[in-house]
Symmetry: C2
DNA sequence: ACCTGAACACCGTTCAAGT
DNA sequence: ACCTGAACACCGTTCAAGT
């Protein structure tokens, strides 16, 4: 039979979809390949390395060529691409979040994001920081999506919140409800757009400096955007 | 002696600072309280509930009153406050990220963020989405900060990247270096500002509509998602 | 009510021995 | 080279029994 690394990764992905990350143990994964758990250590030094390989396979399409669109669209495409990749396997987001050592696909994808952001006018260092920021947003959002998807419907924030008997503002109550009533994709899109909107103002020299680029946040003169308060 | 819940939480926080999350087991935590591991189940139904309580204690100051500043500053203050709270205990970010059931302090803090964003002009639902987006960013950034802090210096992305022998762009190489050369606080601040900048343009009706406020992102660039549609 | 002692049902990982 | 079988050193959790 002679198992290959890729066989183990494929089996792990299949196992993930059926049983979920919490059930994925070396013994059970081995059993799904008609092999003892210990045998997997011929192919991976430990479970972490195995999951790193699984994570990198999950994000394998991130580096696909981008359409020749405005950079704002390209950033949104990358964000959506990552979300789609994470959602395409059960607990995919948690697996990728737990990655310790980035793999080839992760690096290629990040590189692509950095380049898009540089073309948008960001210095390379800042492009890197922003790439991570976007990554964190997508990961966090998708982890929550996948957690919510597997939750019994009587076990949500709203209910918990009531049980804890905390006084919350009416706005917060509405906000909480919207987490359960609104399509996750729409929520995701909104956050992504906020980010891109901020970038388009900080990255473009012409539109820059509506606020100081650095310095103490508390220093700024009040009232600049006071007209928004209602 | 008669242990209280708060004694256990305090001991867990102390244990965390000394040994880290990976070493925190029920047996060892019990031992640090001169008690067997099983005894902790008189105070918490399971380890998860215990860690939830620890997480909520970590973010206990989030709801402190905010200065009467512009909402942009208030958002940045909340972000910095959360980061500071997470950094104040070893593996604090990972503990909070693993929270299943939000506690009182988490709810109060979120509520505060939602209200700030509503005053900025966002509808409550969107304010909630944005609050989560900010939360994800801070968590992700801080988890990475704390991971980096505990890493041997020969074990970073740059080195890994070379070992994997992936071709990366010169911009990406610079970006990677900056992750190790730049003060994490500065990187954090930058991402926060991008976010706030985006908000200040999406939340204010007057400054809005530099891009469509809603709609399908795919609409602007036809065919771009063909590779994602599985 | 709170804790001990001991067990149950697992883990990840290692390694001599087989093929 | 790859896998088995069995062990090692742990886990979280439960529960009768003690105090």
């Amino acid at each position: 039979m002679a198992l290959r690394k890729s066989d183990v990764v494929d089996a792990a992905l299949r196992f993930l979809d059926i049983e979920g990350l919490d059930q994925l143990t070396m013994r059970k994964l081995g059993a799904s390949l008609n092999v003892h758990g210990g045998a997997l250590y011929r192919h991976f030094p430990n479970k972490e390395a195995l999951l790193d390989a699984v994570a990198d396979k999950i994000v394998q399409d991130m580096g696909d060529p981008l359409p020749d669109s405005p950079w704002t669209d390209q950033v949104e495409i990358l964000g959506n691409r990552l979300r789609t990749a994470l959602l395409s396997h059960r607990d995919g987001a948690r697996v990728v979040a737990g990655t310790f050592a980035p793999g080839v696909n992760t690096i290629v994808g990040s590189d692509m994001a950095v380049q898009v952001l540089c073309r948008a006018g960001l210095p390379p260092a800042q492009a890197g920081w922003v790439t991570f920021a976007l990554f964190y947003y997508v990961l966090g959002h998708t982890i929550e999506e996948q957690a919510q998807r597997q939750l019994p419907s009587d076990n949500n924030w709203r209910v918990r919140n009531e049980r804890l008997d905390v006084q919350v503002s009416p706005q917060f109550a509405v906000a909480l409800d919207s987490l359960w009533d609104t399509d996750p994709a729409e929520r995701f899109q909104y956050g992504l757009r906020v980010f891109v909107e901020g970038l388009s103002h900080l990255a473009a020299p012409s539109a820059q400096q509506t606020r100081p680029a650095s310095g103490d946040a508390t220093r700024e003169a009040p009232g600049k955007r006071g007209n928004l308060a209602r």
